[in-house]
């Protein structure tokens, strides 16, 4: 994945000079932004489905991370810590009625066709490419119907490819609860994307 330096260039160099007494991996903010911005932005974009909100909250994530860098302990990865901050910001943002109101009127909402059209060029026929776009659109729409916790856990697991203990650390949920949300989300996804829907009644459910 290519990193983009736009946001990294916006942070002034003076932020790297004022370092706390104990050195942390977050002291060089520009380097941290360049390394982790695509991941944070991707997660926020998939969660909020609004590019303006994702952009703003991405910037806010790194600003808060840098402000609270003294509290960062090395018991987790930097990416895990950043995703946790981003998730908390997204929760606070979506709780407000203002977000729900502007979500209906926003022109920066991500359309499912944009996601489906973002597939890499594959050496395949036009028909198979069309089928692939349809598969992506179905997953995108199904993820949108999940509950907020199920969606968060599903995205952290299959989009960010995080381990279950890391997801528990990010979300602040017990591991058993994380598994429960993940398995329910998987059941919903597999029920809607089963190539043989007639057989779904014979599937074992937890």
């Amino acid at each position: 994945m290519s990193t983009t330096p736009q946001l990294a260039n916006t942070f002034p160099a003076t932020l790297t000079l004022a370092s706390p007494a104990r050195a942390t991996p977050l002291d060089d903010l520009a380097a941290v932004v360049a390394a982790y911005q695509p991941r944070v932005y991707r997660f926020l974009l998939a969660t909020l489905r609004d590019r303006d909100a994702a952009e703003t909250l991405t910037q806010e994530t790194f600003l808060r991370a840098w402000s609270a860098r003294a509290s960062f302990r090395s018991d987790c990865a930097v990416s895990t810590w950043l995703i946790r901050i981003a998730l908390n910001l997204a929760r606070d943002h979506t709780r407000t009625g203002r977000f729900r109101f502007w979500k209906h009127l926003s022109t920066s909402a991500v359309d499912v066709s944009e996601i489906a059209a973002s597939l890499p060029n594959r050496d395949a026929t036009a028909e198979s490419n069309l089928i692939a776009q349809q598969q992506v659109a179905e997953i995108w729409q199904t993820v949108g119907t999940l509950s907020p916790r199920q969606r968060t856990v599903f995205l952290l697991r299959f989009l960010e490819e995080m381990e279950i203990p890391d997801i528990a650390q990010v979300t602040g949920l017990p591991i058993g609860t994380v598994k429960s949300h993940l398995y329910r989300a998987l059941n919903i996804v597999r029920a809607r994307h089963n190539p043989a829907p007639a057989n779904s009644s014979a599937r074992q459910t937890p």
């Binding site: 994945m1 290519s2 983009t4 736009q6 946001l7 260039n9 916006t10 942070f11 002034p12 911005q37 695509p38 932005y41 991707r42 974009l45 998939a46 994702a54 952009e55 703003t56 909250l57 910037q59 806010e60 600003l63 910001l89 606070d92 943002h93 944009e114 996601i115 489906a116 973002s118 597939l119 890499p120 692939a132 598969q135 992506v136 179905e138 997953i139 995108w140 993820v143 697991r157 299959f158 989009l159 490819e161 381990e163 598994k179 993940l182 398995y183 329910r184 998987l186 059941n187 996804v189 597999r190 994307h193 089963n194 190539p195 043989a196 057989n199 014979a202 599937r203 074992q204 937890p206």
Partner: protein, 197 residues
């Protein structure tokens, strides 16, 4: 295809009672996740050899989720490339900075809200010179009136040292006739006081 029968690669049909249960969500997660443990994956893959339905379902889901991950990553990267350089925010998104027009709107709203309160607030009684003068005149006139009353009351009672009226003057007979009724206790040397108007 019946889910409770399956064919091995050697085309041998397995009866339903010998078929293991289908993939659980935990096994499906272990197969879909790229970094699942080998033990969970091995147990699930053993089932896939016997259940083509689960194998087809797994292939379809694995392909869909992989495509979803690729498409989301590409879309996010493309959006980041299109972003304009942003300035560092000075305030939190949850507490956005107020622009001057916002301050003006807040001040105007407060002014409009407080104006009726100021208009209908009860005012204290104000001092007016005209009323004070009229009060003063009334007091003086009342005092003068009381003085007149006192003077008349005191004057109506004749004193013993008051000089006698001249009997030669006019209406002396009338006065002499009225004297017993006005002052019955008067001595013979006293003459009745001439009545006042």
């Amino acid at each position: 295809m019946n889910l409770h029968t399956a064919t091995l690669p050697s085309q041998k049909v397995i009866p339903a009672q010998l078929m293991p249960a289908h993939l659980t969500p935990a096994q499906l997660d272990a197969l879909l996740s790229p970094n699942a443990s080998a033990r969970d994956a091995a147990a699930a893959e053993a089932h896939l050899l016997l259940c083509p339905a689960c194998a087809a379902e797994l292939d379809h889901l694995r392909d869909s989720i992989s495509l979803f991950r690729q498409a989301s990553s590409n879309h996010a990267s493309r959006e980041l490339n299109n972003l304009q350089p942003l300035s560092l925010p000075t305030r939190s998104l949850l507490f956005p900075a107020l622009q001057p027009v916002h301050w003006f709107a807040v001040a105007t709203t407060l002014l409009i809200a407080l104006l009726p309160l100021q208009t209908f607030r009860p005012r204290p009684a104000q001092f007016t010179p005209a009323e004070s003068y009229s009060v003063a005149d009334t007091t003086e006139s009342d005092a003068a009136l009381l003085d007149d009353v006192d003077r008349e009351a005191s004057a109506s009672v004749p004193t013993s040292l008051q000089a006698l009226a001249d009997p030669t003057e006019e209406d002396s007979s009338a006065l002499s006739l009225q004297a017993p009724t006005n002052a019955p206790d008067q001595t013979p040397n006293q003459t009745p006081v001439q009545g006042k108007d």
